[in-house]
Symmetry: C2
């Protein structure tokens, strides 16, 4: 793969991430967001402080995006939360893993002590294995917490790692 | 205890719940909210749709309050989330348990299929035992996710029950 650049975008650049966001969420198989979510709702969730959005590009084409934010306010704000999305035609090239490593470093620099994923769909084995390779452990399993578009009620993992 | 009434309040009645909310959050030992949270921030979290606030009263005095909302948007919205607070001078009288049973019934009527608590401070043994008596199981444990005001970094339980 040619050189990949990852950079933070401002809220008013969210249209750069939106085509991937919309496509991934429409699938209804990985994120709990409403599959019909609007641009403004997505931007509010991903690119409004304290949430920060980053995009990954190859040759100027956006191939992935991720969001980083505190998982809780106040007395839980030392734990980060992140979500990653890769364009369908750019999968299996290591982009999610590269974004994950980038987010871990950004989170460390921002002073977070750990990172937590609240909603990893249990049958998304590629994602679960990937996060484990990047140091995450499964710390919880919530039965039937996701209405998968094809598989129906599906368990969800909570994953965590110290930074 | 004399007859307790539990009723839903509107957003513009949140001042009825606020004294208890403020006192509980100020303690910094049970909720992740910023201990200095403002009235308007608290109202936005607890009493702005889709979140609903309920208060428990005895002889017209508010002794407790709780919040009920979907734990996730979209494809996770069939799982409810709730948080309960009891006035310090009204504890150990069964008020939290009564509010919990009330919330389970309201959640069922609203069509939720399960209820999840994301942030039960692990050393809050009274709460953990209480939720277990009301049918909740520990489905996850997140290490050091809470900065307890006296005990420092403390583990947090995720608890869950089917409705």
């Amino acid at each position: 793969m040619r050189a990949m650049e990852i950079r933070e975008i401002k809220s008013d650049e969210f249209s750069l991430a939106w085509p991937i966001f919309r496509t991934v969420v429409e699938g209804g198989d990985t994120y709990a967001y409403n599959p019909d979510i609007s641009f403004e709702e997505a931007r509010a969730l991903w690119a409004t402080a304290p949430a920060r959005t980053f995009i990954a590009s190859v040759d100027g084409k956006v191939v992935g995006c991720y969001m980083l934010k505190p998982n809780q306010p106040g007395l839980g704000s030392h734990v980060a939360n992140a979500g990653y999305m890769v364009a369908p035609d750019a999968r299996r090239k290591g982009i999610a893993g590269r974004m994950c490593e980038h987010s871990l470093e950004v989170a460390r620099q921002a002073g977070f002590l750990a990172m937590q994923f609240n909603f990893v769909v249990s049958n998304n084995e590629v994602a679960v294995r990937l996060w484990m390779r990047h140091g995450f452990e499964i710390v919880g399993r919530v039965p039937q917490a996701f209405r998968h578009s094809r598989l129906g009620l599906t368990d969800v993992f909570i994953m965590h790692r110290i930074l």
